[in-house]
Amino acid sequence: MCDYVNSAASAVPGWVGAGLPAVEECGNPNIDFARSLFAETTLVRLMACFDDVFFRWLPLNPLLGPIWSFRCTAWALALSLACAGCGSNSFEYEPNDLLAASLLREEGTQKPKPIAESASQVVESWFGSLGDPRWPTDKLQGMVGAENVVSMEGVQRSAGAVGRGNDKVERGLYRKHCVSCHGLSGDGRGAAAMLLSPYPRDFRRGTFKFKSTLHGSKPTRSDLVRTLHEGIPGTSMPSFAALEQSEEFQEDIEALVEYIRFLSIRGEVERKLIAKQIREGVELSPESAECVAVLQQIAGQWASAESKVLAIPTPPEWSAEEMQASIERGSQWYRSEITACAKCHGDEGRGDGASQDFDDWTKDWTILAGIDPKNPVEWKEMKPWGALKPVIDRPRNFAWSSFRGGGNRQDIFRRLVLGIEGTPMPPIARAEGNNPGLTDDQIWDLVHFVLSLGGNP
């Protein structure tokens, strides 16, 4: 609300409302939350439209300025009273209040905003704003592979508002294709987030489920391209393959991947800075050596992702009898203590095992903060900071024969040995040297058994 008043005040000479003080947040997260909802009402959006049309576009300002100033100020005041506060419709990165709130909860304090905002300011000074993204090249000088972390050309194309410039190059790809679910900041809190299952990915954790790199490593560019190209079946994540006919398709996909990497690095740096400030009491500053070290560490992890790819062996070519025997062996491994597959996926592979857990994004602000995600009274404490209702990350029902990370034999093998990061699905122990675990042949048996549950041996 007050954004409109203040922005119009600065844009229009003679604006009666010029200099109106911004309404301060009252500090109560519930009230501030309710106010921000009110500020999204169409009435407020309509008022902004009239401001735009009459003050910014029509050359009527000099003639009608005083009249409109009076009228719009009256509107503004009336709506201010109606909305009882202010909220932000400006497109800026959202500070990570939820993480700050969950880390602070143990200490009993309820004011995460100042900490989240100070971390947000530091990352903004490095990474720029939503409309003008930058890359902190000067902070990464000397780092191996620094030039390969993010291509700013792709980031620039994906950031900002949707549309083509006079050069006919399309920009704002992220807002066009991703923002309604993943949110402006990549926090997984886009407009539709509450209605989706699973919730859209929060990139700021730097964790990606379906990738070809070792557990704990970042995904490669081709992992992200694959997800964009093929989508994730049974979820709201679409495939962009339909746009292949467009000449720009490949460039668009690559640009989006760069922006996702950019948002992930930015968000992860922000998270680490918040944690450093709360846990270690580090004073956050863009020039602080400790803060820069965080940036370099995370950028380094992304730079080295390509070297962490796990090679998957070629699937064996077996006869029907051998395949049947392989499935039977796989059935034993499935129910064994070494793999413990049945514990979550159930004896028949229908995803109804005894152990039902939450994903790491949920655990971040629940279990780690001492909150029981199954207790509505407890988790709702975090709702004003952006928490969505915790939902159990259900193990896959193999009878559906639908695999989100790819359904061919090599894909399943990869999922088994790498796990699905951020979820309760761990990597299977591989027998290497003296380490106990499954050999490659035994893992193939397991792959064949899992596929056979859906009727695809």
């Binding site: 735009d52 049309v53 083509r164 006079n166 309604s180 049974g234 259900r394």
Partner: protein, 337 residues
Amino acid sequence: MRWWAQPKFWAWAAAVMIFPLIWVGGLVTTHDAGMAVPDWPGTYGYNLFLYPVSTWLYGPFDLFIEHGHRLLGSVVGLLAIALCYTSWRFEPRRWYRWGAVGLLCAVIAQGLLGGFRVVLDGRTIAMLHGCGGPIVFAFAVFMALSASKDWRGALATIESRGMSRLSIALVCGTILQLYLGAQLRHTLPSTSPVGFLSMVHLHLTVALLLTLLILIIAFIVRTRAYGAAREIRTPANVLLLLLFVQLNLGLATWVANYALPWSELTAWLSQYVISAKGYWESFLVTGHQATGSLMIAASVWLACRVWRRQGKLVSQPVSSRISASAVSPLTQAERPA
């Protein structure tokens, strides 16, 4: 009178052309192509009508539909001007002449809104523009209907005011539903999940109410009380059909955009991969919006037929072809001695 001199022809032509305009406008929203052409009223510096056809047809798809939308809009503008001219030249009813002016103003206002949406890159203006289109369509349909034989020759056969109220409620309800749908289609990037969720729930609630309303209307028009006004059954039946199509399209639109959140209940969808901006997906989403527009138009059709068949409204027929003896007893009774 020659065909080109009849306002009826131009009113129908405008209504018929506005419907594809709404389709293409819907495609523009579906493909987020509103800013595919960054200038207005020209196109990349060219006059709107002089933009090279080859670049338009073989360029990017978003540019194709956005420029096409503008061209189609200007055709509708020309038709509205023709309607205005013929109405003032040949139409005896004064209110109809002003109605034609109103339609022209509405078309111009829509064009300006579309222009401001581009110049100011405003998504809220895009939402208003999206809401305005179907209302202009309904207005054009009203102008076409009010120039029809049915309008001029309707007999007073409905005594009760109940159906009239229901039909007006239906017009208002469908417009409200369109507005809520536009809120969902033109979501701001900063819209909160709670705000969006509330809007979805509201959209579903109004859909339920409209379903009930249409079912009630479809039932009532078949009762004995409306036996003499069989003409109102046609729009009621059309509404029933559109409702069936629209409910299915609504569900399909959600699935095509976001899939369904109940994986345990919808295992048959577990292998479905949403295709971003896919052909069928775009068709479904845009079809939902266009069918919504048709429902508004059909509601206006029903309201017109009901109104014209109520005693008081038929008392001042304009250039009616009906003889005095054919007018219903109710109308005769209402006439002054």
